[in-house]
């Protein structure tokens, strides 16, 4: 299969079950909503080292938020509910409570509701106030800029993490340009985030290592500088590989995101050095969700 001269490998991305939540952050203006959201989703690229994978889903206008202020929606994913709850509380306390004018609201309804500001309220030292409005409980916590407003809980849902595809190009700038085009297109898809810096990761990993304490290490088969010495997946004309990882609320969301991302990357075409699109997997042994590239690209 080829798109615009770019070869699409007959392979698949392998993804995992995760727990996810959405939080809506509002502030006096978008500038401060982004300050809060960027802090909350900072150092959240991979569950391997960060506990959660998080990112900004999209910007929200004033008519889309509960309190009628500008906002952004955040998605956060973890391998289990316990970690998600712990990370959400920590990040709420350090990133949203602290950010001038910011407020936080639930962005997803679920039977499983987890603490958003439920425990954070104790920062109010007895002066916190609860209000039940429209069947939802909110906490008002006195802070130095006025009052911090947060909903008590947010929903936790079953989600999927680790959807991905690889862009193989003849040079590093060309690989990056294709990934940037892909990310811009994928940002328009709801219910997904691309948690790595700028949405792109260069250090794809394989399971295991020669070092016993390492459970993941560099994906040498896709490292262009090792082509001559390892069992490489790269042809002579590939000099750079970059990966886009996607976490989403449902299989269909990730599949749609992969489709628009791959198509955007391929739009640069072989003439601009984009040679192949592949995907990362572990032989189908680790994750129950397989995103077959050819099937995904046939998704309407």
């Amino acid at each position: 299969m080829q798109i615009n001269g770019v070869q699409i490998d007959d392979t698949y991305a392998e993804a995992f079950n995760m727990r996810g939540t959405r939080v809506i952050i509002t502030a006096q203006n978008h500038k401060w909503a982004y300050h809060a959201a960027n802090a909350m989703t900072g150092f959240a690229t991979s569950v391997i080292g960060c506990g959660v994978e998080a990112g900004i889903e999209r910007e929200l206008s004033s008519d889309e938020t509960p309190d009628g202020r500008p906002g952004v929606s955040i998605l956060m994913f973890a391998m289990g509910s316990k970690v998600l709850m712990q990370q959400l509380e920590t990040r709420m306390g350090q990133c949203i409570l602290t950010c001038p004018t910011a407020a936080a609201f639930s962005g997803v309804e679920s039977e499983d509701m987890i603490s958003l500001g439920k425990h954070l309220r104790y920062f109010g030292d007895g002066y916190q106030t609860s209000k039940l409005i429209g069947g939802k409980r909110y906490w008002r916590i006195p802070v130095m800029d006025g009052e911090f407003l947060t909903q008590e809980t947010t929903g936790m849902v079953r989600a999927i993490g680790g959807g991905n595809f690889l862009v193989l190009a003849t040079s590093q700038p060309q690989a990056l340009a294709a990934c940037e085009a892909a990310i811009e297109a994928m940002k328009q898809v709801p219910n997904v985030i691309m948690p790595f810096p700028g949405g792109v990761v260069r250090s794809g990993s394989k399971v295991g290592s020669k070092y016993p304490k390492m459970f993941a290490s560099s994906n040498d088969a896709f490292c262009p500088t090792l082509k001559g010495i390892v069992k490489t997946e790269l042809s002579d004309d590939i000099e750079s590989v970059m990966e886009i990882v996607i976490d989403g609320m449902a299989f269909e969301d990730i599949a749609k995101s992969m489709k628009v991302g791959i198509e955007a990357a391929c739009s640069l075409g072989a003439k601009n050095g984009i040679k192949r699109i592949s995907a990362g997997n572990y032989g189908g042994k680790l994750g129950p969700h397989l995103f077959k590239l050819h099937e995904v690209l046939g998704t309407k």
Binding site: P66, D67, G68, R69, A103, G126, Y127, T129, S130, K131, L132, I133, G134, Y138, R140, G146, E147, L149
Partner: protein, 224 residues
């Protein structure tokens, strides 16, 4: 289904207790059972049908039509649903309330929301003395004037006013602020049939009290 409407046939000569006429107490009762409810607890207490025409069948929303200030204890121990009072209410409106919404389109007498724990009461007219006395939590809005001893022994809760209350030693002025939660509250009030739907200014003067209790309640005076 239409709201259960209780139309007052005649203004009672004496105070009439409306204890028990709440959505939670009337849930599951048919019209005959509702008509035969006793108003009050005495042996010779009148029946509901003696004073009210009964129409409608949805007890989750009770409407008192042609209501009078002789009707005490409307919404007493109410837990859910809505009561709309098309007229005035007597003493102890929403006393010991535990949830739901009461909208009074006229005025209410003394001790509105006495010992109220949860829920929303909106009064388009005036409220009498000891409004929100011994209140534990919840939200009470009074669009008109409010009598003396507002929030006497109140522990927590929000009293939303549009007219300045009389000063009290046990309520402390905390200044004028823009409170973000009010935009949520005002949005929730918009669908209701009340003067409070007009409010959209989240800037309020805030008093905290009653200091004779734990002082964690608040009076919010909406700024013009």
């Amino acid at each position: 289904m239409s709201a259960l409407t209780l139309t007052l046939k005649k203004s009672p000569q004496f105070k009439l207790s409306c204890v028990g006429i709440t959505p939670n107490k009337l849930a599951g009762l048919n019209t005959t059972q509702i008509k035969n409810l006793k108003l009050g607890t005495s042996k010779n207490a009148p029946l509901l049908t003696d004073y009210f025409e009964v129409a409608g069948d949805d007890a989750s929303h009770i409407i008192f039509k042609s209501s009078s200030s002789q009707l005490d204890n409307i919404g007493f121990e109410m837990k859910s649903g809505q009561i709309t009072i098309d007229g005035d209410a007597g003493d102890s409106l929403g006393a010991k309330m535990r949830g739901g919404t009461i909208i009074c389109k006229g005025s209410a007498n003394d001790r509105v929301a006495d010992q109220m724990r949860r829920g929303l009461i909106l009064i388009d007219g005036n409220a009498g003395e000891y409004c929100a006395s011994r209140m534990i939590a919840g939200t009470v809005g009074i669009y008109g004037n409010v009598g003396a001893y507002l929030g006497f022994s109140l522990r927590r809760g929000t009293l939303l006013l549009t007219k300045t209350p009389s000063a009290q030693a046990t309520w402390q002025d905390c200044g004028t602020h823009t409170l973000p939660f009010l935009s949520l509250l005002f949005a929730a009030l918009k669908p209701l049939d009340s003067k409070f739907t007009k409010l959209n200014n989240t800037r309020v003067q805030r008093w905290m009290g009653d200091a004779s209790q734990n002082g964690k309640g608040e009076i919010l005076l909406v700024q013009p």
